[in-house]
């Protein structure tokens, strides 16, 4: 610095030895500002927790009493079960829709496009009510040859219980959103990858499964985590079709006891617990799919990278007398 100011910077001057100090011996300045910020933040947070915990209106003893209540736990099971089943179906169906959307086939493309258009374009609540009341629209479900004879048929009410209506409604809606997420992920993979897989004689399905999807996962996982968390909360909509999910079960309790806020707190804490677990899971999955990154180099690989290049020269003539020299 001083050399620059003096305008006498000389690369070989004696000043260098004193001005250019090895950064390995550098000291860290004391982070006073950051420590103060931390202290203030912790103070505010502690104060907030104190106020909430000490506030009688929140009814913490009631929260504790009902936290593991069988009704609540049953509702929790329904919420988790619905989420897992609807999400799984949604992802599988979404993958198929995404592939159909990307295919050259006009029919598959159109059908998938219409599906996505409809199920993203209408409110989930309406879709759930529609599925629940399917029997009033179609009293009988049957498999028939179009405009032809019927093969098999069932009474709609025996097929569509509140549970199936909830699963079908949530899953089809989810599939429409997942289709777009997965399509975006598949498109983010370099075209050369599909071509290489093809050139090596892989079938389309195998190329997708082994080469394209694993790479697409990096951009698919984060929005899917969002979807999953939205789904957990979306399941609370099924209370309108008389499914006893987590929210419905706390409602059924506070309808009796009138302890609205504590019971809602029970639900809120459970929702937060689930999403926290999911966040941890998501970060593990993300780390797995970013394993090819230079950043996440395995220890052995980093060690090997520091080896002398002489040990990995190809056999045959040494690179110094290679024909390219003649061309230059």
């Amino acid at each position: 610095m001083s050399a620059l100011r003096d305008g006498t910077a000389s690369p070989s001057g004696a000043a260098d030895r004193t001005d250019l100090r090895d950064v390995a011996k550098a000291h860290r300045p004391f982070p006073l500002g950051r420590l103060i910020l931390w202290a203030v933040a912790i103070l505010i947070a502690a104060d907030f927790v104190w106020i909430v915990a000490g506030n009688e209106n929140f009814g913490w003893p009631v929260v504790a009493k009902y936290f593991f209540d069988p009704t609540v736990l049953q509702g929790l099971t329904v919420t988790l079960g619905l989420t897992v089943v609807a999400m799984t179906i949604g992802i599988v169906l979404g993958l198929l829709l995404a592939i159909a959307r990307l295919s050259q086939d006009g029919l598959a493309n159109t059908v998938a496009g219409l599906f996505i258009w409809f199920f993203r374009g209408t409110p989930l609540l309406v879709q759930l009510i529609f599925w629940y009341n399917l029997s009033t629209l179609f009293p009988e479900l049957s498999i028939t040859i179009p405009f032809g004879p019927k093969l098999v048929g069932w009474d709609t009410n025996s097929v569509i219980s509140p549970m199936t209506a909830a699963i079908v409604g949530l899953a089809l809606n989810e599939a429409a959103y997942m289709a777009e997420i997965i399509r975006g992920g598949l498109l983010s993979v370099d075209k050369g990858q599909a071509e290489t897989a093809e050139a090596f004689g892989m079938t389309r399905v195998r190329a997708l499964w082994r080469v394209i999807i694993p790479q697409a996962m990096r951009s698919i996982v984060p929005p899917t985590g969002n979807q999953l968390i939205s789904m957990i909360k979306a399941t609370s909509l099924v209370s309108v079709i008389a499914m006893a999910d987590l929210l419905y079960s706390v409602q059924s309790i506070y309808n009796r006891t009138f302890e609205v806020v504590p019971m809602l707190l029970v639900a809120v804490i459970w929702y937060l617990l689930i999403t926290s677990v999911l966040n941890v899971g998501q970060s593990y999955i993300e780390r797995y799919y970013s394993r090819g990154d230079r950043r996440s180099a395995p220890r052995a690989a980093r060690d090997a990278a520091t080896e002398a290049p002489a040990t990995e020269a190809p056999m045959g003539p040494s690179p110094t007398n290679v024909p390219q020299e003649a061309a230059r």
């Binding site: 290489t196 990154d293 180099a297 390219q324």
Partner: protein, 259 residues
């Protein structure tokens, strides 16, 4: 190696035409490649070299003419004296004997070097994991990367990546290897290691079609040099003839840039 009339060519291209929209990129290419022959294709940018290479393993379909590889017409099949277009699975099967090395390496970035090499042998050729791994280790050793088998592509230099890509192509025991400018994306000091690997393959009698701008490689390793321009083969013959004493003005103009 000299081409004799008695040897059935491994690759037989006849009157190959290919257009992208209105632009005719290949205007009737005829080419025979004998087993064990090394053919280097030279030509200016846009002359259709890559396109022709991609037609050979049906990454591009052709509009007219025919391409036979190892006695099979690529992309088509004769059924009751009628030529029928093949489906995806049958085309995939035809590609199994053709290895390809790309300009941009195109390694699978989520797999280690070893996994890249064993992917097709296990998944396409049905080899056992053990056999595929043994063979892959031998091949990676042969291209000088025995110490890098567990590295991911992004942890390798360009030259190392391209050598993994060559090992990957060799792992399917191809009858024919296609190289599309394998050294063009490399820093000059890394070109040598890839070219020397390729020269070893040529010496070992692998049938190769190589698109490259490395005139030195063509001169030393090629049995035959083919000069393409504007979708046509302008001139071909042994390297000393085409490179040393070009007959055609366009060949001379092209080569003059390298001297």
């Amino acid at each position: 190696m000299t081409v004799t009339a008695t040897v059935e060519p491994l690759v037989k291209a006849r009157n190959v035409h290919k257009a992208f929209g209105d632009v005719e990129v290949l205007k009737g290419i005829d080419m025979d490649v004998a087993p064990g022959e090394v053919v280097v294709i030279l030509g200016p940018s846009g002359s259709g070299k890559s396109t022709f290479l991609r037609c050979i393993n049906h990454l591009e379909s052709i509009d007219q003419g025919s391409i036979m590889v190892d006695g099979e017409q690529i992309g088509y099949e004769l059924r009751k004296e009628r030529l029928v277009k093949l489906g995806g699975y049958a085309i995939a099967r035809q590609r199994r004997k053709i290895g390809m090395v790309f300009q941009q390496f195109n390694l699978y970035p989520h797999m280690t070097a070893l996994q890249n090499v064993i992917e097709a042998p296990i998944g396409v050729h049905g080899e056992s994991r053990q056999a595929a791994t043994d063979n892959a280790m031998k091949l990676l050793d042969r291209v000088g990367l025995a110490s890098k088998v567990h590295n991911y592509p992004r942890q390798l230099s360009g030259g190392q990546q391209q050598r993994v890509a060559i090992a990957r192509a060799l792992a399917i025991r191809p009858k024919l290897m296609l190289f599309d400018e394998p050294t063009s994306a490399l820093d000059p000091e890394l070109v040598g290691e890839v070219l020397s690997t390729m020269r070893d393959l040529a010496d070992q009698g692998l049938t190769m079609i190589v698109v490259t701008h490395e005139i030195g490689f063509a001169r030393e390793a090629a049995d035959r040099v083919v000069f393409m321009d504007g979708g046509n083969i302008v001139e071909q013959g042994p390297p000393e003839q085409v490179i040393g004493n070009p007959q055609h003005a366009r060949t001379r103009a092209f080569l003059s840039r390298f001297i």
